[in-house]
Structures are given as C-alpha cells and as structure tokens.
Assembly symmetry: C2
Homo-oligomer: 227 residues x 2
C-alpha cells in the first residue's frame, strides 16, 4: 500500500546473520513485495567504509553473512569487522579477533550494530553489542558502529531515496535503535506496539516517539490518511 | 628471606584458573616456601561474600577453580560468579549465564578480577574483564569485582596479617591492579620491572609507584635494608 501510493520506502535493518538476498527471500515468503535494492543493511554499509578507507577486514561474523564481503580484500587484515556471529562467537575466534586488533598500532574495530540481546525460540541470546564491549575494553578502543542507531546509517538510507529527513518517517519497534536513531537524524518516528516494544518504553528517559501505533498496518493507515 | 626476617607476608593473586592448593604447588616447585594459608585469592573472598549475603551462584569459571566452591549451595541460583573461564567461555555458556542474570529482578554479577588480557605461550587471551563488560552491557548492571584492584580485597589481606596499611608494602608488576589498588588502600607499592611491566607504565596518567625495582629479589634487598 505504501509503494502503491507513490511514497518512497526503504527497509532499514540491523540483520547481520544473513545476506540481503536471504533476508528479502524471507520477507517475500511472508507476502511482502520487496527487493534487495530496497534494503539498507549494515554489511553493505561496512563494505563501502572499508573500500573508502582502504581497510582489509578480519571478519568475525555469521557464516550466512560472509557472501556480503565477497568482493572485499581480506588478506593481511588491518581492521576487525564484528557482526552477530552467533555460534561463531567461540573462545578461539574471539581471541583471534583480539590478537588482530592488538597487532595494530591503532586498532580499528567496526561493529555491525550495538544490540544488547535478542530472543529466539530457544531463549535469550547475547547480541553483537556485548562482544563489541568485550573487545573495546580489552583493546582500549572505541568501536565504529555501522547500522542503527548510527546517524550515518539513516543518512545513507535517506540519500538512497533522495529524500530529506524532514520529509521522512521511521516506523520501528526498538525505542533506541529505531526511534531514537531516526529522530537524531531529523526524521519523525513512530513506535509500533509489537515485537521488541515493551510498555516501559513509554517512560524511556531519553527517547519519545512522535506517536505510537498498535501495529505496522495501523502505521500505514495513518501515513496514507495524511497524504 | 622476608619470612626469615620476621616480617609478615601475604601473596595477593588474581589467579582464578586453579585452586589455592594447586597455585601453591606450582610455587613450591619453583622453590618458594609458601602455604595455602599465605594466599589471598578471589575465589575464597567471593565465597565469604556469597555466604554473608545468602547468595547461591551460577558459576562461569575454569574447571580448575570449581573445587573452591565445593561448600557453596549452588541450587536455584540468585547470582552469577564469573572467573577467567578460558575454554569454558563458550557461546552457550555465556548465553546461559546471561539468562540467569536476566531472570533476576535485580541481577547480581560477581567478577573475580577485571583483567583485560594476559599472555600465554600460544598468544594473547581475553581475560575475565572482557567477558564481565559483555555481561554488564547486555544486562545493564555493574559487576562487583572481587580481587585486585578492589580495596576490599587488599583490606582482607591486611586483616588476615593483622597489619595496618601504612605498615605494609605491596610488590607487583601490574601498575593498575597491584600498585594502584594497594595505594588506594593506604599502602605503599613497588613496581617490579619484570612480567607485565611495560616502560610506558612509568608515564601512567593516574598511578605512580612509590619506587621501581628491577626484580623481586631487589625489592626484598631494599625492604630488608630498611629494617
């Protein structure tokens, strides 16, 4: 309905366990008519940064994400790219990434998101942000975060659409990463009361959405009504 | 020579991979005449805290340390005790400890030390502090650190000897954990220029030892000369 109305649309995700291709495949199976070109994700954003700065990554990411870095030179690494590696977060792999960082004069750590945790069917799992903090502390560096809530990440999504922030609206379930990040970029933001949403979000000390909606369909209703 | 001089002596260690028994065994093999009663270590200090506060730990520690917690009730845990678990720092074990913390109304995380890393023959390894930071961030809690540089840890070593801080001197190689920790407690502290010592320590922004010595034997010479 958004696309049929003529509005421009972009999916901003911090998904780093699969390629955009597989992410879109999943959404299409759910009935969403979306293409890879409509997805803004951390891995391709990181690839652009690596290319711009001549960085060759040591990857500590999920196996499913590796194809996103196919075109990147990974020989003789001069930075570490950290994603939600899940089962790849082994003691040996963490020590390997740590040693690569400690071997640099000025360690460069790029983190695909800074999520604290997420829930899967078998329970809560530590997200990439926890491992980012471990490496930051051990190496005494500050990671560069690519993905939500980074301002630059939202800006690149806007640039891809050719839309200024004041004409864009973010819809998301995460009070800090979706709503807070978009607002810092000058966009308005709706929080859906589904998914990650918790009633306590409505008393968040720093972030206040422009409005709440009960679900994604209601967000679309409201946006189309105002056209 | 220190003991023969009549001075009281205490070994303050952050060793959490083995029991005090095995730690002392290693030192005796190197020719040091020391007993378990002369060792102040994080695990027994943690056991006292657990007992005082009625805490039942979920342990994420090295297999070699588990016997130190033999007398502690570990059923239905209401806190997590984190040590340098080394190979036990698996993705599954970290998620388990995380879930225990998230299941508490007010998570209690006790960390045996806050070291960033250490070096073994096969290379640098992340130390307990890195994993402590990961769990702190994910759970939004602050760990209680038992061991150096915690003031309480030095105080318990002094209490065990019955010596006030101004009559005690610390000898150590770690500028922050040994020297800084002891000084905060009112003791004087010597830094040995061996082991962890790095020339850059002499320009440390916060900690300045009372004196430097080239090695442990020289520290003993100097102390005995002043008697």
């Amino acid at each position: 309905r958004i696309k049929a109305s003529g509005l421009k649309m972009r999916l901003c995700t911090n998904e780093t366990q699969v390629t955009r291709e597989n992410f879109v495949k999943k959404l299409r199976l759910m009935g969403f008519d979306v293409s890879v070109a409509e997805v803004t994700a951390p891995a391709p954003a990181a690839c652009r940064i690596l290319k711009e700065r001549g960085l060759r990554p040591h990857l500590l990411v999920h196996d499913g994400l590796v194809p996103e870095f196919a075109e990147v030179d990974k020989t003789n690494p001069n930075c570490v790219v950290l994603g939600d590696a899940a089962e790849n977060f082994t003691y040996a792999n963490l020590n390997d990434a740590f040693r690569v960082l400690m071997g640099m004069e000025k360690p460069v750590l790029i983190s695909l998101g800074r999520g604290r945790y997420y829930k899967e069917t078998d329970g809560l799992k530590l997200d990439v942000g926890a491992y980012m903090k471990a490496l930051e502390y051990a190496c005494d560096v500050q990671a560069e975060v690519v993905g939500k809530p980074s301002k630059r990440f939202f800006e690149s999504a806007l640039a891809e659409m050719g839309v200024p922030p004041e004409q864009a609206i973010m819809i998301g379930d995460d009070i800090v990463n979706d709503v807070g990040g978009a607002q810092q970029c000058g966009m308005r933001a709706l929080q859906v009361r589904t998914g990650k949403y918790r009633p306590s979000d409505e008393k968040h000390p720093e972030v206040k959405p422009d409005a709440y909606v009960n679900n994604l369909a209601e967000a679309v209703d409201i946006i189309l009504q105002q056209l």
